[in-house]
Every structure is written in structure tokens, then in C-alpha cells.
């Protein structure tokens, strides 16, 4: 051990060995000698062999014993954290100068030059911060092997686990949320469908009812026959009847419609009765506008022009597995709706005379304020 050599040399010097040994791992500043008004002490190494052995820890043999009196005598033992490293390194041609403390690679000893080289030069060479030395680097790495490995493992975990996980975690959470939503939607849909299967008879009945109110096709002859029938039921005399096709509603709730221009003659009460029957007819007929004027001869007889609108809608839905079904045939609002359309009067096209002699007019011709010359269906 290089450090042992140093301490052996120190033992040969006239140092007060009666001084109390101190723990060399943590020397207390309080135990250090304090010299007052003492000139600069030359701490250079005069003993060549000592300088060769340890280049950095220079013990001057010219130091007066009185000045060194308080220096503790060191016990010859290695306190190296990694003694194995220390011993292995000391076997090479390039020796790492471990001191008795056994830490670090502060001293570098080249056997081939140590006998002739100035210790100061070695010292200065040691101080060079960028003096790349493989052995020194190895020694440093071995001394700091635990923190280096620990830092490396940490870095490895950060690179292989933390960063990829942080990157993928939001996407995974989003995917999980979407899957949960889809799962809930499908669960609810399946539940609704199973309920609809249980109420299939009611669903079919409701479908028929709604198809009577909102037919799938224009069915113009049937519609005109229904209007004519209602007019007659109200004791109105139909003088004009024509139709056109148009579009009503907006967006997803848009629907095509048949617009009917109707001219009738009758009394005020008959008009009101006609309006009530139209409002309660099973096939939906809306009154857009109307106008009446008193007849020239009889003040109770009115010439009435109405524009009626009857929507129709063809739906051909397809089964879209992932789309929910909002229909709940057992909900109160749906039951109220069904109850309302059940109260409408259904005019069976097979039981009333179908009018098939009416020509279609252009939509712009449908105006209650215009005098129409289209003859009555009768």
C-alpha cells in the first residue's frame, strides 16, 4: 500500500508520537494545532523516496518537530470504502495513489519516472482537470459505482417506463373513457331492445298508428278524398281543390308535404267545424292560412279559401349497432303522444271515394287571396 509507505516514512520522522490519536476519518478542526505568528512553513518533500511514493501527500522532513508536535500519528490501516478496488488497482503499472484513507485517485504514480520527476510537476499534473486518464477514470467509476449504477437505473426507468407511460397514459385514459361510454351505450341499447321485444305487439300497433298520421308516401288521391270528405261532413260546398308538393320543417326534422288549396262555401259555424275536423283527422293536415269573405247575396254565406298542408315521411332506417336508440315506449311522454293520436279520427281511404281527377298545381299558385278556377272534385 502506497499509503502505508507514507505512514511508514512518517513514523521515521521526529514526530511527537505521544500525541493522542484521533479518528482519522473525521478529524476535528478543534484538535488541529493553531500556530500563532508562525512564518510560512515549507511543506515540500525533500525526501525523494517519500515523494516518489506519494506525490500529493507531501510530508516535509524539514519541518521542525515542534511544529509537528500536535500532528496525530496515524494508524496504518485502510479505511477505503472499496478496499478490493484499492488493492486491485495498486497491482497495475500505473498505480493509483490511495492514501491511508483509501478514497479517491488523487495521486498518480508512474514508476518509470517517479525517481527523476519533480514532485511539484506531478502535483501540477494531478491538478489538471482535463487530464484524461483511463485508470483514473476507472478508479473514479469504481469508487462511485453505486451512485453511478443508481443514477443509470433511474435514467433507464425514466426512459423506458416513465416517459412512455406518461406519453401513453392520456391516450389510454381517453380510450378507456370511450370504451366505457360505448359499453354503457350498448348496454342501454340492448336493454331498450329487449324491452321493445317484450312490447313488440304494442310497438307494431304504435307503428301502425303513427303511419296513419304521418304516411310514408304522398297518397294525394287519398288525401284529397279525405279533405273532400271532411268538407262534406262539415256541410261545406267544395268549389275548388288543388294540390302541390313542397318541403317543410328543417334539419333532421324536415319532411316533404302536400299543399292543398281548397275553396269552399258555407257559414261561419261550418268553417269552424271544418277546422276542428281537420285538426282531429288521423292523417295529419295543418291549416297554413285561410281567408273568407261574405257572399254578395247572403251575408251568412261565406266564400272560404284555405291552404292546407299535409306532411308525409318515408323512413328506411338501418340497424346501426353502435348508435343508441332513444325510443322508450313506456315513457310517459310517449304514452301521452300515443294517446293523442289514438284520439284522432281515421278516414279510411278504402271507405271514401278516391278523387283522382285533380291536377297538381305549382306551389306558387297556392294562395288564398287568388281566385282559383280549378273545378271542384265533384
Amino acid at each position: 500500500m502506497i499509503g502505508s509507505n507514507l505512514l511508514d516514512n512518517l513514523d521515521e520522522k521526529p514526530i511527537d508520537t505521544n500525541s493522542t490519536p484521533v479518528d482519522n476519518t473525521s478529524p476535528s478542526p478543534a484538535s488541529m494545532p493553531v500556530i500563532e505568528d508562525t512564518p510560512d512553513i515549507d511543506l515540500s518533500v525533500s525526501d525523494k523516496s517519500t515523494a516518489d511514493s506519494v506525490s500529493t501527500f507531501s510530508t516535509p522532513n524539514t519541518v521542525k518537530p515542534s511544529n509537528f508536535g500536535s500532528m496525530p500519528k496515524r494508524s496504518v490501516q485502510s479505511n477505503s470504502v472499496y478496499p478490493a478496488v484499492e488493492s486491485s488497482l495498486s497491482k497495475g503499472t500505473k498505480k493509483v495513489g490511495f492514501s491511508s484513507k483509501g478514497y479517491g485517485t488523487n495521486s498518480y504514480v508512474d514508476d518509470s519516472k517517479s525517481s527523476t520527476e519533480d514532485p511539484l510537476a506531478i502535483k501540477e499534473g494531478f491538478k489538471m482537470p482535463f487530464n484524461l486518464d483511463v485508470t483514473k477514470a476507472k478508479a473514479f467509476a469504481l469508487n462511485f459505482i453505486v451512485p453511478i449504477v443508481s443514477f443509470s437505473v433511474s435514467l433507464l426507468l425514466i426512459l423506458t417506463v416513465i416517459i412512455p407511460s406518461f406519453t401513453s397514459l392520456p391516450d389510454l385514459k381517453t380510450e378507456l373513457a370511450q370504451k366505457q361510454t360505448l359499453n354503457n351505450t350498448l348496454s342501454k341499447k340492448l336493454s331498450n331492445l329487449e324491452r321493445l321485444v317484450d312490447f313488440k305487439k304494442i310497438v307494431d300497433e304504435n307503428s301502425t298508428l303513427i303511419n296513419n298520421v304521418l304516411v310514408s308516401e304522398e297518397m294525394v288521391p287519398e288525401l284529397l278524398s279525405q279533405v273532400d270528405h271532411i268538407a262534406k261532413e262539415s256541410n261545406l260546398e267544395v268549389s275548388r281543390l288543388s294540390y302541390s308538393l313542397s318541403q317543410a320543417g328543417s334539419g333532421s326534422l324536415g319532411y316533404p308535404s302536400v299543399d292543398i288549396s281548397l275553396g269552399v262555401m258555407g257559414t261561419y259555424d261550418q268553417l269552424v267545424n271544418f277546422l276542428k275536423l281537420v285538426e282531429n283527422a288521423s292523417r295529419l293536415i295543418d291549416v297554413s292560412t285561410y281567408r273568407y269573405t261574405v257572399g254578395s247575396k247572403d251575408t251568412t254565406s261565406l266564400n272560404i279559401n284555405l291552404v292546407l298542408r299535409s306532411p308525409y315521411l318515408f323512413v328506411n332506417s338501418s340497424a346501426v349497432t353502435d348508435d343508441p336508440i332513444d325510443l322508450d315506449v313506456t315513457s310517459q311522454s310517449f304514452l301521452n303522444f300515443v294517446s293523442k293520436i289514438q284520439g284522432l279520427k281515421y278516414y279510411n281511404p278504402n271507405e271514401i271515394t278516391i278523387i283522382d281527377t285533380i291536377e297538381e298545381t305549382q306551389p306558387e299558385n297556392v294562395d288564398v287571396n287568388q281566385e282559383q278556377t280549378i273545378p271542384s272534385a265533384q
Partner: protein, 195 residues
Amino acid sequence: MSQSINLIPKQEIEKQTEVKVLNLSTIISFVLLGIVSIVSIYLLVSTTGIKRQVRTLDASITSLRSNIKSLSSIEIIARNLDKKHKVLASIFKDRSYYSKLMDELNARKPGGVNIIDLNLRENNKLNITGKADTYILVAEFTNTLLDKSFANGSPLLKDLFGEVTLNSVNLENKGGGVNFSITLEFSAQKLKEVL
């Protein structure tokens, strides 16, 4: 002049510093490794748990889709019914029942006032041309239309008419009487029916 000299060799100081650095770096590295390990474990557990949940949900979704597809016929019926139901509901919601308007107008019309021409316009206005026996009857007619406490009308339609504009009043020389023309605004909302 007093001066303190630390006789601890420089190499010894450096070694002590090195030991401190080694200890400190070891502690820091262990702390860092501990934190990183904990975070890594947490993230691994989290991601693994989420992936497991996703796999479970995928299996559930596949099963649900299979069950739903087996009910596609009832689904088509339900969709058709639902579409028509929604369209009809919107139509009924916006539908005006003009028979109510005619009933209320007739109820508020005094005897001695005859409506010669009534034109329902699309902007919720009625143009009425008529003939009354006297000016007073015309005034009574317009006042009655706006009377919210009118007893003979429908209680639900007391606010039906909002504004009456008297466009013209002319005294007819032949046969007496007064010709008048008014524009009457009404609330279409009052004519709707709530399902």
C-alpha cells in the same frame, strides 16, 4: 497578529471532500432511484390496470354487439318509429289550432258587428274588414278583443289577442252603419296544444 493554520494535509481534505461527495451522491442517487421506482411502479400499475380494463370492456362490447345484431329487426322498427315520432312531435308542437281562434273571435264579437272579410296572414295577424251599426260597436269590438277579463271567452285564451290596430272607420251614407278595417295580432302560442 494571530493566524490560524490548518495542518490537515490538502490531500486529506480532498479525500474527505470526496467521501462527502460520494456519500451525498449515493444518498441522492438512492433517493432519486426510490422516487423513480415508485413513480415507475405507479405508472406501470396504472397503465396495466387501464389496459386490463380496456380488454375487459372490449370483450363486453363484442358480446353486446353480438346480442344487438341478433335484434336488428326490432331495431329497424324502433328506429322508424322513433324517427316518425320525433317529426310528429315537432309538428304537433308547432301546430296552431285555428278553430280556437275562430271560436274566441266569434265570442268577442258584439251583436251588430258583421265581419265581411277575414284574412289570416302568416305572421300571426288577422286583417278584418266589417260593418257595424254604430261607431260605439266598433269601439266595443276592439275593446272586447283586448279585454283580459272577458267572461264569455275561453279562460285559456284571455291573452290571445295582443294588439288591435284600427285602420279605417267610414260612415256609410246609404243604409247607415259604419265600415271598419282592423288589424289584429294574436299569440300563436296560445293556439298550440300541449301534449
